[in-house]
């Protein structure tokens, strides 16, 4: 069962890393223009970058869940996965956020998709914790 949850986490991690690249405002050619005329990325872009930082360790958790056989280690991986899933939700939802305009793609697509993926990551990680209870050391 842990293999199933581990592979799920790897897939989710890849999606978390890739989704913002196609759904942030920068991907739609939108940027902020400063008074000096320089274009800088909008807030949602930085949320997307931060998500890569979440996705890499989450993928590692997935790999470990597939490879590891020890009960305590699996449980630790599960707890770490729950925390990373929470962070995947927290970056676009509050810690960094997305653009203010409710009609922008980062608001309508990127944020809800990342919230959904983060939720699935949490559920998958809880699955690892539950499944690890049946593992015999």
């Amino acid at each position: 069962m842990n293999k199933f949850f581990g592979i799920t986490l790897i897939v989710i991690a890849i999606a978390i890393a890739v989704v913002p690249a196609f759904t942030d405002c920068q991907s739609q050619g939108k940027a902020l223009t400063t008074a000096s005329g320089k274009e800088i990325p909008m807030k949602c872009h930085w949320s997307g970058i931060a998500e890569i930082g979440v996705a890499v360790p989450l993928a590692m958790v997935g790999v470990m869940a597939v490879a590891i056989r020890r009960k305590q280690s699996l449980m630790s991986m599960g707890i770490l996965g729950v925390a990373l899933g929470g962070l995947a939700i927290a970056f676009p939802a509050g810690l960094i956020g997305v653009c203010q305009t409710p009609t922008m793609i980062c608001h309508t697509v990127m944020q809800p998709t990342l919230v959904s993926l983060g939720s699935v990551a949490i559920i998958g990680s809880l699955g690892i914790i539950l499944a690890s209870r049946k593992v015999k050391d």
Binding site: Q100, T101, P102, T103, H107, T108, V109, P112, V115, S116
Partner: protein, 397 residues
């Protein structure tokens, strides 16, 4: 209790069949609830929008009915004008308790101030207004001062700034209206003196001049005496005035409502057909399972189980699968719809507001009850056949 234990064991014992039924119920129940919520959400949004308008009749310049409807529905700015003198003609119609003018303006295109590329701006007359005034009285306890505005839920002050700058004029957003899911969410409301000052300043401070002529208005909001039929008043307006069309509040967005109903009821009908086909398939699955379990049930009968016990155990198994699948499917569909509501409403090009909690709970419960009843009904014939089989024949097979 024994019945439930037996049903649970049967579900666990035939994993593949149970998962197939569970997933089928989950899929159709989720899809059915999704279409129901979209229909209910669109209606709720339109009704909330009409309530926000607060007028029994909208009198608009002749020929601009569709444009004004889409302005209110989708927040698209509109260019509609008629002489202010029309206000006196409307106020003189018998049955009209109050008549208040509004002017519809638009922000500059792609202005950084606004949530949308062209923001819809409504100018009202504080002396006669009865649509915004009750909200202001309730939430601010006063009317708007010069330079103050209120906006729909999509209107906000840009990050790092204190005011919303429109045509070079700084406006102070002092209140945000509750969401309606319609164009009113991206509408900014201001009093006439603010609009006139903005217009005056735009000549020197903005790239584009804002023209506000106090002698021209866009619509007249009409409140009808509660004891008089609004339809009668609308007919009087149509017969006794020229260049104006009355739009009765219940008929507003009528064309959109009929288009939306056609589309969504089509979806609903397809879902019901899929539901019916799924239930027939579930019935067939139960029939096949019943054939496989003839000996198992005969053994149960031989150790003392009654026909009624066998009958009920099969039905409870079906009901449990229906309950689990429906709860999971509906919960998942609701979560997806809630999280992606902006995207779904945007792609369907329709107003949408997630239904109120009591309405949602009743839809959720109705979906679960429907699933339990139909899945149980699908298992009725196989359960009956299993319970009525001859013990000796079944044991010998």
């Amino acid at each position: 209790m024994q019945l439930f234990r037996l049903a649970f064991k049967n579900i666990r014992g035939s994993g593949f069949r149970s998962i197939a039924i569970f997933l089928a119920v989950m899929g159709v129940a989720g899809f059915l609830l999704m279409t129901t919520i979209i229909i209910a959400g669109a209606r709720y949004s339109l009704d909330t929008g009409l309530e926000r308008l607060g007028a029994d009749i909208l009198v608009v310049p002749k020929g601009t009915e569709v444009k004004i409807e889409s302005a209110l529905l989708m927040g698209k700015p509109v260019d509609a004008w008629m002489p202010r003198s029309n206000l006196e003609k409307i106020a003189a119609i018998p049955g009209v308790v109050a008549a208040s003018p509004q002017i519809y303006l638009m922000s500059m295109f792609d202005s950084p101030c606004c949530a949308v590329s062209e923001m819809f701006m409504v100018v009202y007359d504080p002396d006669t207004d009865f649509t915004i005034a009750p909200w202001l009285e309730k939430n601010l306890g006063r009317s708007l001062a010069p330079g103050e505005v209120i906006g729909g839920t999509y209107v906000f002050v840009p990050e790092g700034e204190e005011y919303i700058t429109l045509y070079g004029y700084d406006t102070d957003l002092v209140g945000t209206l509750e969401p309606t899911g319609t164009g009113l969410d991206q509408t900014l409301f201001m009093a006439m003196d603010t609009a006139l000052e903005m217009s005056r300043l735009s000549v020197t401070a903005a790239l584009m001049t804002l023209n506000v002529n106090p002698d021209l208005i866009s619509v007249i909001m009409v409140k009808v005496d509660p004891e008089v039929d609004p339809h009668r008043v609308a007919i009087d307006i149509r017969q006794n005035t020229e260049g104006m069309t009355p739009l009765e509040s219940p008929d507003l967005f009528g064309m959109f409502r009929s288009q939306m109903n056609g589309l969504l009821w089509g979806f609903f009908a397809i879902t019901l057909i899929v539901w019916a086909v799924t239930m027939i398939l579930i019935g067939i699955v139960f029939s096949m399972a019943a054939n496989e379990r003839r000996r198992e049930m005969a053994v149960l009968r031989a150790v003392g189980a009654t026909r009624n016990f066998i009958f009920r155990s099969v039905l409870i198994e079906a009901a449990l699968l229906g309950l689990g699948g429906a709860v999971m499917g509906i919960a998942l569909a609701s979560a997806v719809l809630y999280i992606f509501q902006d995207m779904i409403a945007g792609s369907l090009q329709m107003p949408f507001l997630f239904p109120s909690i009591p309405a949602f709970v009743s839809m959720f419960s109705a979906g679960v009850i429907l699933a339990i009843l139909t899945v149980t009904a699908a298992a009725l014939i196989p359960a009956f056949r299993l319970s009525r089989q001859e013990l000796a024949i079944a044991m010998r097979e």
